[in-house]
């Protein structure tokens, strides 16, 4: 088990390193010098040079890469070109909106998808199954940001149960959760539709396995065989999808924040793009990629928890 975890950890480190290099190189080829951009066309060369030094742009590229990476490892993400504020501070403020939103949505999506998928698989081919499948077929097709707009139209504008946007902060956690509820639902439902379909087909695959027949021969009913032997085996492909979905949820959160005017990473990144604040873009992207890679690492560990074959082999 430890060996497996260490091996995964090593590959995680390599992925992070390569990802950081890719991000850095892509941003590096960006035309234009941030210092000249910030000071305008009429700036004095000396002023530009001074700013370049201040922003740490005057050292060789590899040095800047190393500074950036080692800085991030110690929590120092550099200084925003536009706001002259520490990027880490800007990010952590926004992270307190985006991360809870993504986790909230992931929880909702799982809570909806698991029962729906299991229910459909248990009633394969019957009316309940067809109903769930039709609903998920529709859910998969709905863009989350449009669904968000419909939710606003219904629950905020017409029913006035929720506010149409904005975020009051976490001073009152209940208010915070309330403000994130519509966005989380908008994010979660389309993902839940996909997850429910995967859960169903994975369970149906497992139900065709020999060991389910063995369980039935022992005297388990169909339902007991499904719960006791099907579910844990079916989880293996479902976990993969949950891992992949996390990156979609993060990306989706960035878009959904636009609908609800939430002060999250999405807002930060779009502002930074328009202001050519590349260090912020670079760092936020790295953070998103970091999150995805770490979640996939967690999924790998979850595999091992579910499947004993991975613990002893590999």
């Amino acid at each position: 088990m430890l060996r497996y975890a260490l091996k995964r950890l090593a590959s995680l480190a390599v992925s992070l390193l390569v990802a950081s290099l890719v991000i850095f190189l892509v941003v590096e080829v960006a035309p234009g010098d941030p210092a000249s951009y910030m000071l305008g066309i009429n700036a004095q060369p000396e002023t530009v040079a001074a700013l370049r030094t201040e922003l740490g742009l005057d050292v060789p590229k590899y040095q800047r890469y190393l500074d950036w990476v080692t800085g991030m490892a110690t929590g120092d993400f550099g200084t925003s070109y536009t706001y002259r504020a520490p990027v880490s501070q800007m990010i952590s403020d926004r992270l307190w909106v985006s991360l809870p939103l993504a986790l909230y949505a992931l929880t909702l999506s799982t809570l909806i998808a698991f029962p729906a998928g299991i229910y459909a698989a248990a009633r394969r081919g019957r009316l309940g199954d067809m109903g769930v499948m039709a609903a998920t077929q529709l859910g998969v097709a709905v863009p989350n940001f449009w669904f968000a707009m419909l939710l606003v139209l219904l629950f905020a504008i017409n029913l006035r149960w929720f506010s149409a946007g904005g975020f009051p902060g976490w001073d009152d956690p209940l208010q915070g959760i309330k403000a994130l509820t519509l966005p989380a639902i908008a994010l979660a439902l389309p993902q839940a539709a996909i997850l429910a379909r995967v859960m169903r087909s994975s369970l149906l695959d497992i139900l065709g396995e020999d060991f389910i027949r063995t369980a039935r021969a022992k005297g388990l009913s169909r339902r007991q065989a499904l719960w006791r032997h099907g579910l844990r085996n079916a989880l293996i492909p479902v976990l993969t999808i949950i891992g992949l979905q996390f990156s979609f949820l993060l990306a989706g959160a960035i878009i959904i924040e636009q609908v609800f005017f939430l002060p999250g990473l999405g807002r930060l990144i779009f502002q930074s793009i328009t202001q050519r604040d590349l260090i912020v873009v670079e760092s936020v992207v790295m953070l998103l990629v970091f999150a995805v890679i770490v979640v996939n690492f967690a999924v790998d560990l979850a595999y091992a928890a579910v499947d004993p074959r991975l613990r002893t082999r590999s």
């Binding site: 260490l6 060991f211 027949r213 063995t214 021969a217 022992k218 844990r232 074959r309």
Partner: protein, 556 residues
């Protein structure tokens, strides 16, 4: 139970005996309107062993599933199945669940997939007990330990916390048996319980089942295609063909009379020996010298030097022109690795493999000049062909090896000739592979091997997937072709009876080494090596028939 007036040919109820434990009465099963079982009547007495035998598709397994009440949803069932006084066909699903596992236990064919991979064996055995609320969890665990010990998995060596993937196939089948007998059912159903196992393991598992059934006073319904297994195990036999029982009766009586021609045909095919023409071996064709093949093992610790698994260990032998040589061994003995090495598909670590003096693998690549003289026929008639190509394209694939492959009329002639040689029609060239049965596909596979006129053909378990009657025909075809085309054969198989029926000389392989070799009859009649002796002793044997002389009777 017998009120419907059905007669039970052969078997029947013995006067004064207790009522049958299991009775099938006019059982019919249809799936999507297609009849699978037709008017099946059968009884099984308490503590009796009844074997159902027949070829694939005869409905044996379907009968077992019907008795368990585990037929697929789409199946419509007619007639009656009763267990003692209980009419199973009238029971609701929850009532059936109560009977399964408690009164009827079942063992399936494929031990590798019959166990849940993510649960411990202890959990799976205790589940049989707990699902029927037969004992407290603590008692159930104790019982699981006992029953696992009973099937040969003592708790000190096989604790309940083991997972299925940590066990071998034979051990897994023992776990399956433990699950089936944990509650001492009155009836045990075993569906081809040893078909997926090696011959020595098969002998052990059959012996285990036999002992358990006797000692625990269970009745056994055993389903197997193997007449030799049947003859060694069963009190009574029912022979099935196309969903019907064509003949049933006490074992000795049935084998002695064999009233139905189908029974006789099965028996004859099971002990069939191909008619090999007399042999005058020519010059050495294939020569192996001290061949060794290693595979790297995964490292178990981080800073440990890489370990190797030696799959083939210093193997040397010659095959002369015109010889038909068998290579037998159990799974994992290295015969498949050796086959790939001979074909030049993989390099060897040391030693040499030459065909007619030329190495099969040179400079990091297979030697195609040599490959041209050597072809292969694989086991699986369903996986051996690209389903998207027509037969003509399939069997001409080896032409790729020729510097100047025949085209146009010459190609058509070659195709027709190859198809005719294997007993098919030249018109079959335009068909897709799905139009052919398993036996016909193996004929096409042989045509593919034959078409570039190789000198050596390797048969890698080439008849193992076929039913006995088809197998006999294919073996005859092989014998014919070797005579007609002067071919040299290497038969790789786990099946001793097949090797015996078609080879002049045999090599016995174990753990990467050749442990014994010699003329086939000599090796089989007087094996020298202890392993060979064990193999031959373990192989199930068909009964001797009265009135046949020793000379006409094969030993296997």
């Amino acid at each position: 139970m017998t009120s419907s007036g059905h007669k039970y040919p052969g078997g029947g109820r013995r006067p004064g005996a207790e009522p049958p434990l299991l009775a099938l009465d006019g059982l019919g099963v249809a799936i999507h309107g297609k009849p699978i079982l037709k008017d099946l009547s059968l009884t099984l007495q308490p503590s009796e062993i009844l074997a159902m035998t027949g070829e694939s598709g005869s409905g044996k397994s379907m009968t077992a599933l019907a008795a368990m009440g585990l037929l697929p949803h789409s199946a419509q069932i007619t007639g009656r199945i009763s267990l003692g006084d209980t009419l199973l066909t009238d029971l609701s699903e929850p009532q059936l669940c109560d009977i399964r596992g408690r009164q009827i236990g079942m063992i399936f064919q494929e031990p590798m997939t019959a166990l849940n991979p993510v649960q411990t064996i202890g959990h799976q055995v205790t589940e049989t007990i707990l699902i029927h609320r037969a004992m407290t969890p603590a008692r159930a665990e104790e019982r699981a330990r006992d029953v696992l010990a009973r099937v040969g998995l003592p708790p000190d060596r096989f604790p309940l916390t083991r997972y299925p993937h940590e066990l071998s196939g034979g051990q897994r089948q023992r776990v399956c048996i433990a699950m089936a007998i944990a509650l001492r059912p009155r009836l045990l159903i075993a569906d081809e319980p040893t078909t997926a196992l090696d011959v020595t393991t098969q002998a052990q598992i059959l012996e285990l089942i036999r002992t358990l059934v006797r000692e625990e006073n269970m009745a056994l319904l055993m389903i197997t295609h193997d007449l030799a297994v049947v003859s060694g195990m069963a009190d009574r036999i029912a022979v099935m063909k196309a969903g019907e029982i064509v003949e049933q009766g006490p074992t000795a009586q049935l084998f002695a009379k064999m009233r139905h021609p189908y029974t006789r045909a099965l028996f004859e095919a099971s002990r069939h020996r191909a008619d090999l023409h007399g042999l005058t071996p020519g010059a050495p064709l294939l020569a192996l010298r001290d061949v060794t093949r290693d595979y790297p093992l995964p490292k178990t610790r981080l800073f440990q030097p890489r370990q190797n698994f030696r799959a083939v260990d210093g193997v040397s032998f010659d095959i002369r022109e015109g010889e038909r040589v068998g290579l037998v061994g159990e799974s994992g003995c290295g015969k498949s690795t050796l086959t790939r090495a001979i074909l030049g598909l993989e390099p060897v670590q040391s030693g040499s493999i030459t065909l007619n003096g030329a190495p099969v693998y040179t400079g990091g690549h297979p030697n195609l000049d040599v490959r041209r003289q050597m072809q292969v026929v694989f086991q699986d008639p369903y996986g051996s062909f690209n389903p998207r190509h027509r037969v003509a394209r399939l069997i001409t694939e080896p032409f790729h090896l020729l510097p100047d492959p025949p085209k146009g009329q010459a190609r058509d002639n070659a195709i027709s000739e190859a198809l005719t040689a294997v007993g098919l029609h030249p018109d079959d060239a335009g068909k897709y592979i799905h139009a052919f049965s398993g036996g016909q596909r193996q004929r096409i596979a042989i045509a593919r091997a034959l078409i570039i006129r190789p000198r050596l053909i390797l048969f890698d378990e080439a008849v193992s997937a076929l039913d006995v009657r088809v197998r006999a025909q294919i073996l005859d075809l092989m014998a014919d072709l070797s005579r007609q085309y002067g071919l040299t054969y290497l038969f790789i198989s786990h099946d001793l009876s097949v090797v015996r029926s078609i080879t002049d000389r045999v090599l016995v392989m174990r753990a990467g080494r050749i442990v014994e070799h010699g003329p086939t009859d000599a090796v089989f009649d007087a094996p020298q090596d202890p392993y060979t002796r064990e193999l031959i002793r373990a192989a199930p044997k068909l009964p001797d028939l009265k009135g046949e002389t020793d000379a006409a009777r094969p030993a296997l």
